[in-house]
Assembly symmetry: D2
Homo-oligomer: 306 residues x 4
């Protein structure tokens, strides 16, 4: 039974993601993303589950920066978790009683319409996390009447769900990843994703275009690009890339070897099955068999067998 | 005397930026970036000053998203402000007395070495902003002995600077912009920057490469790219671009008209003098005179005068 | 009634092309391509018809070089003429009598199978042109029994067609163009072609890729590229391009103005209706209306109306 | 002592090239390029020397088409031969006697100024080749008084050089290649050239740009591109490419394997030392060592050793 660290406390969306990814794992809640990743790095846990990006809020920059700068880890799985907020209260509390609501600022933003409609007179106060809000509301003497949090937080802290799925949008999603210490990669499945961090060798005009060309010329489709500051002043960035395919695929391998040649540093963050199961469109001439055939042809040419 | 809204409260780095950009402006502190921009949008202020990115923390995503989705505003100036943290205390407090320090989490991260060395026994507590921390510390009965904040915050709240420039890195910089309601653009200076937001028409493979090619083929150099989620699910992004030159420049105009043709929506966020005063290298064939000459040649060709 | 010079003598495939292009024109046969073009340049004729390329032999390099270096002319029409060879003899000659055949080397190559099968014992001798061969065979004392030439040559010189369409391939085609002195261009038809000559400014690596990018970024499809030596040593070339569209089209105009900016010299050779009548696929964002709309948007942006 | 076929008859520029390339070879003059290449193919000769292009006339299309369509041969050497025309006559002939000059049309064009100045009253008649002209002039009863040909033709046929280097341009050059039946390639020298023929898989817009990108992305510089008709109608072409480097170079190998994957057919025509001895500028990231290092990095990544 693996032991997995995650962004705690108990009752976070991350815990929900972990339970879906690894129902049988032992769970180790950590205070923040760095602590969860360090637990995996140091061996206290066998791996970790952390959020990478959210369809409304964007990248979780702490995660990106940890992956770029910290001790190496490999992503071995991803999960897309719909973000469903519940209104949670101590047993016995009813909707009309609720005057003070406690939750994370992102939830405040994302549940604005529900609160305005159903709790027009309530004051909403910022909490460090939705799970922490639920934890606080569960205390008998809490100044707050309700929390907005994941349903799982209610289960943990003994709160009742007064309303479910109260977000303004029903399609908000957070992408979580499971990471492990470096080791054998997940096998290619035909529907894989690869994640990289790339530091430029020198920040010349056209450097980004050159990087993208290394992908496009081998028919590798990008699915995400994020720029992050290197810390060396405004205008100096490094890049996170997600793209279709597994590093074991010939086209992916040649593309990232190309990046490795022209860039300052390429850090491989993993190849793993796509959560959406979509298989990539493989452009003519870029399938593994075509790479193999071309390699054999090249060998013959080099031997003068034309 | 213009009236400018800014990210308050008094004593923030944003106030410092505003004072450098517009020493004589009347200053209107606002609770957050959105409020400051809304003050400018609504006419309560003539403009606003807000942070756009930091060389350690990266983009200020609230600012990016406000520029992309909110009522249009134009950037008319930028400023690069070195981030210098001061240790501020009530008069009479001395270094050995300091047991509890209050500041924003970013300052906690960035002043880690100083605190470990000079205040090894102090507890550091998170505040909503560095200026709010100073404001709190200035209260006679505050539970905190010192704040880490901008020197300007000490001046505002009557605190004494016990130590200056206590950040671990001396080269951290925040980029601020001044925005106004739409109107005549700043004149080109020969050292300008232009900022855009671009939404894809359809998210096909190679869409980003196509956008970058619209710039590169006209010799326009990108200086920043940020992807942000559209809100419509993981894998759907829009882009912020900064690039060299002024929209009045022929090469810039043709490039962004090209983007406008192939993309879903292009939102122009302004052309304004670069804070660093660097003039771009203009690639052969892309100067205004060369565009004008080519236009005359084309007119002759179309008239059959070859 | 226009007077058109052409590559003579009477009875050439070029005459056939001219008659199809301009049935009512007065025809002025000339000794070679240069003479025909000079007749048009000097005013002796109103224009000229010359071959540009053949689907088996390739470019007619004299024509390419005349267009590149000579006094400017504009292509105003093109024609694709199937090349059909006939075996022509003096009246009374029958197939078994034919011992000596006279024709141009290209016809020798292209009618090899027929001659081997039907005239296995005949000697085939090289003539300067197929029409000259027919002219010679028509002389009563000619040492030759038959010519291979265009049927039209038989009509001119009083020869009888013993066999028609005797080429090994039935799909050989020659492309002819009609040229005029510079003047108003043919109107766009929606199915046009444009021809250019481009001299590089400096022959750096990637120069050709840059030129092709000027086309591709505006959705202009090339249909032909020919390199020709500049005369300044091996490795120095200039280029002929044919591409879809009319110079009056916005995308074509912007593309060739781009070439004009980055190249040493661009010589426009004309925009004219395509002989095959095929309308181009217009890539999203590159239609005239989209260019116009983008231009209006850019004007508003430059005026600060966002 | 190798036996080399060449484009004859004796006294051609090709013979001169052969003697410079292989001073000790036995020489087998052939009637035309095809015959010379067939002698090499069939084993009658160990190889052949043929012209490939001329700095004024351009490509020798027969050679290009033989290389593309005929039984495979490999280029093993190249030579750049300055084209120097001599005025050659039978012993005893003096300049004022010369009334009829015999030579190849290309020589007529290239010696126009000399003839106009020194032989203003002479008639110049077209010959099948310069060497054939010299051969004819050497006959006692020849109707011609002089030939314009290579000096070597005078030596062969016993003619006297009345004037040397009489071309209008002194810098005209012909590029010759030596070919052999397929076998081990010449070793890389650091200053090599590679020649290919490429047939498109399907003639879609942008196909040429894609091919050039396969080269440019690996830092391989093209030095020549020629389009030739496939024979299947106007608008259908295949391509000859010359580029810097040897197929044993990693960057060249990967580039042509890329072409092989995306194109219909790639025919390798050889890697051989450049006649000019110029070493290529190797772009950052494309040296053999950098490819090897990237390959090792990729192997580690695939093994999960990050």
């Amino acid at each position: 039974m693996p032991r997995l660290a995650y962004l705690g406390p108990e009752g976070t969306f991350t815990e929900e993601a972990l339970r879906l990814l690894e129902p049988d794992a032992e769970r180790l809640p950590c205070a923040n993303v760095t602590a969860a990743l360090n637990a995996a790095r140091g061996g206290e846990a066998d791996g970790a589950v952390v959020p990478l990006e959210n369809s409304l809020e964007g990248a979780i920059t702490t995660t990106l920066d940890e992956f770029a700068w910290g001790e190496p880890l490999l992503i071995t799985a991803e999960l897309l978790l719909p973000v469903r907020f519940s209104l949670l209260a101590r047993p016995g509390t009813e909707l009309p009683h609720i005057k003070r609501v406690y939750t994370h600022p992102a939830a405040i933003t994302q549940c604005r319409a529900y609160v305005a409609r159903e709790l027009p007179d309530a004051v909403v106060v910022s909490a460090p996390s939705t799970a922490a809000a639920a934890q606080e509301v569960a205390l008998p003497g809490s100044p707050y009447d309700a929390a907005i949090a994941a349903r799982i937080a209610g289960e943990h802290y003994g709160l009742v769900e007064l309303a479910g799925d109260i977000g303004d949008r029903s399609d908000t999603v957070t992408r979580f990843v499971r990471v492990s210490r470096p080791g054998p990669l997940p096998e290619p499945t035909g529907s894989d994703r690869t994640t990289l961090v790339v530091f430029l060798a020198d920040d010349h005009p056209g450097a980004l275009l050159e990087m993208l060309t290394e992908f496009s010329v081998r028919g590798v489709n990008l699915s995400r690009i994020e720029s992050r500051p290197t810390g060396d002043g405004i205008g100096r960035y490094f890049f996170h890339f997600d793209f279709e395919g597994h590093v074991a695929d010939a086209r992916v391998g040649e593309a990232i070897a190309g990046l490795h040649r022209i860039c300052g540093e390429v850090r491989f963050l993993g190849s793993y099955p796509r959560a959406d199961g979509v298989a990539p469109q493989i452009k003519r001439g870029t399938a593994d068999g075509e790479f193999a055939e071309a390699g054999e042809w090249l060998a013959r040419v080099r031997a003068g067998q034309v």
